[in-house]
Subunit: 362 residues, 2 copies
């Protein structure tokens, strides 16, 4: 339609087509610019800019005239040009492992909720739990010159870390709480959380826990949780073997939970409580047990992680760890906001905590 890259041939035929049409070099956008509005309003382009960005510096009269011209021309400010000129893009880059996982969707929601009212837009990319892809995405996202960067997890490639440090923009890492973050961190201690629920389970009288989850490389949060389980068992149940069943890179869905539950029953029949790395898996297991007739919690206890909505509706209701996903997003948003506006804001570390929720399943 716009015939880009066509060169000048054919130009004569389209001469004088629509009277007032502006210059039509092959590069122009064909969309009204600030200058067009300025011409229409009889002011300088700069005044249009002021009308938009610092209206208090423009007389009431001029302000209204310019606004009318904006409406008349259908002008939509080009934020790309604005970014280049002002060195502020009003965007925040967001890197998450997977878009369609509900926990990350919650964080996105939280971030958007906080940043959107301040005019920031979100650039979202998913890394698929692949650190190299994360590095690649980090690089191109930084090319967009975002004003802030949110990234899930604290384990990155050396280059990713380096790029982020170099970028000189506020960075917030979500979820884990590392000792030496790039910028700010918002999350909770997976170690403490797993320890807490293991302790709760031991206090309930269970003695033979098995941990099950999808512990894929690259998903440090999952790795951390399984390590924490190991630590907790060694501490709380000395002498007890550490049983961990790993679904690898399987999707986090009910079906995987069912499979895991079958594997645990087969491989570790001595298990008296089955602890999952996610409520989704735990719910899947409960569905499985409902059908296969395993009585929960009488024969076998089950715990989850995350306190998703299903945890309190399924029966038996799920004992789990509640984690404030949404709050991670909103807190991260707030930190970014401060980092982007306050010149000497120091990175912070926010522990949003967690809570063991005891229900019927264990």
């Amino acid at each position: 339609m716009t015939g880009r890259g066509e060169g000048p041939h054919g130009a004569p035929s389209s001469d004088g087509e629509a009277g007032d049409r502006r210059r039509l070099t092959s590069r122009s956008t064909l969309r009204p610019t600030m200058s067009d509005v300025a011409r229409h309003a009889g002011v300088a382009p700069q005044t249009v800019s002021r009308t938009l960005r610092t209206p208090h510096l423009v007389s009431r009269e001029t302000y209204e005239r310019v606004q009318r011209s904006i409406a008349a021309t259908g002008y939509v400010p080009n934020l790309t040009a604005s970014s280049l000129a002002s060195n502020r893009s009003m965007t925040v880059a967001v890197l998450i492992p997977a878009i369609s996982t509900s926990i990350f969707a919650d964080v996105l929601h939280g971030l958007d909720e906080v940043l959107s009212p301040h005019g920031y837009h979100l650039f979202i990319g998913s890394t698929d739990y692949d650190l190299d892809q994360e590095e690649q995405l980090t690089r191109t996202f930084l090319g967009r010159r975002p004003d802030g960067f949110f990234i899930v997890g604290t384990a990155h490639t050396e280059t990713t870390t380096h790029l982020l440090l170099q970028s000189a923009i506020p960075v917030v890492e979500g979820w884990s709480l590392t000792p030496n973050p790039i910028g700010s961190v918002v999350g909770f201690s997976n170690i403490a959380a797993v320890h807490a629920i293991t302790q709760a389970v031991v206090e309930k009288g269970y003695r033979h826990p098995t941990f099950a989850g999808s512990i894929r490389e690259g998903d440090t949060r999952a790795v951390e949780r399984s390590k924490s389980f190991e630590l907790a068992v060694r501490e709380l149940l000395p002498g007890e073997p550490v049983r961990i069943v790993n679904a690898g890179a399987r999707e986090v869905e009910f079906e995987t939970g069912r499979e895991l539950s079958r594997r645990v029953l087969a491989e570790h029949p001595e298990t008296d409580v089955l602890m999952f790395s996610s409520d989704i898996f735990a719910a899947g297991a409960l569905f499985e047990f409902q059908q296969s007739g395993v009585k929960v919690p009488e024969q076998l206890g089950v715990t989850g992680f995350g306190d998703f909505e299903i945890a309190r509706h399924i029966s038996p209701a799920l004992t789990t760890v509640a984690v404030p996903n949404r709050a991670i997003g909103t807190e991260a948003g707030r930190l970014l906001l401060r980092g982007m506006t306050e010149p000497d804001f120091m990175p912070q570390r926010i522990d949003v905590g967690f809570e063991v929720v005891l229900r019927q399943s264990a």
Copy 2:
């Protein structure tokens, strides 16, 4: 840390700090630019650009030298400047009603999956089912000069439609299938889908269906579904009153489904099959009925919409309509891709279809 906007005072003290440091005007980015790389490599900036964008036009030797200089300087191309100069932003704007709703997350996933490999990044905004907010977001998103636009739904304000038409970029509307779309449309017919499941239910022998869902203004898909139900009942069960229970703007979560189910039992005890606008509601109702002892499907049939994973795991397994959410995303991505690259690509209308899935709940 970077002391931005500091002006020139204090400059002398930081003189000659790091030897090779570049000019430090208050406006500079302090990040290496193409010129820096060019200087380092002893070539012209244009050659650096070519190395990055059209490497086949550069000699092997030069290519490698420039690549080394890029690595040495830590250069990250500024895509903002690139966008402005080339009039292509390599971004796609995405407007969805709610980020954390799993169906929309699936579409996002599909879109990203298709577009990301081609270098496009996604700008995501949520409208909260509010058409005015949608208009506002459309305006500012267009300011980012995206190369393509994806928007959920086909009912927009007049201005939104106008803006999108004016934008002269490929637009894809998702979900509904309107007669006169802005650009392409990808979706399925809610009318046909609701009709089909109603028919299936009638064929099973149910005679007194009640429809329940959250039919908020602005959510045209929900409105459409409830209207379709009305049509289907009039056609398939002439004389039968049309019962619709509306949760309004309540969240789409299990709890709302439970409430709806209680309301239906109270307000329309004659109901023999309860048809929900979402599997989430239906699952919530099943949880409720499990506890209150209502036998499904013996006493009461239940159907959902969406065929979420829970539908086949919950017991009784849920009769529902399967909708290819992910496919909507990937198809939309493909259409956008073609629209953005093929000069005279004509908008298309893609019906991704649906499927009634009969299970035990009805």
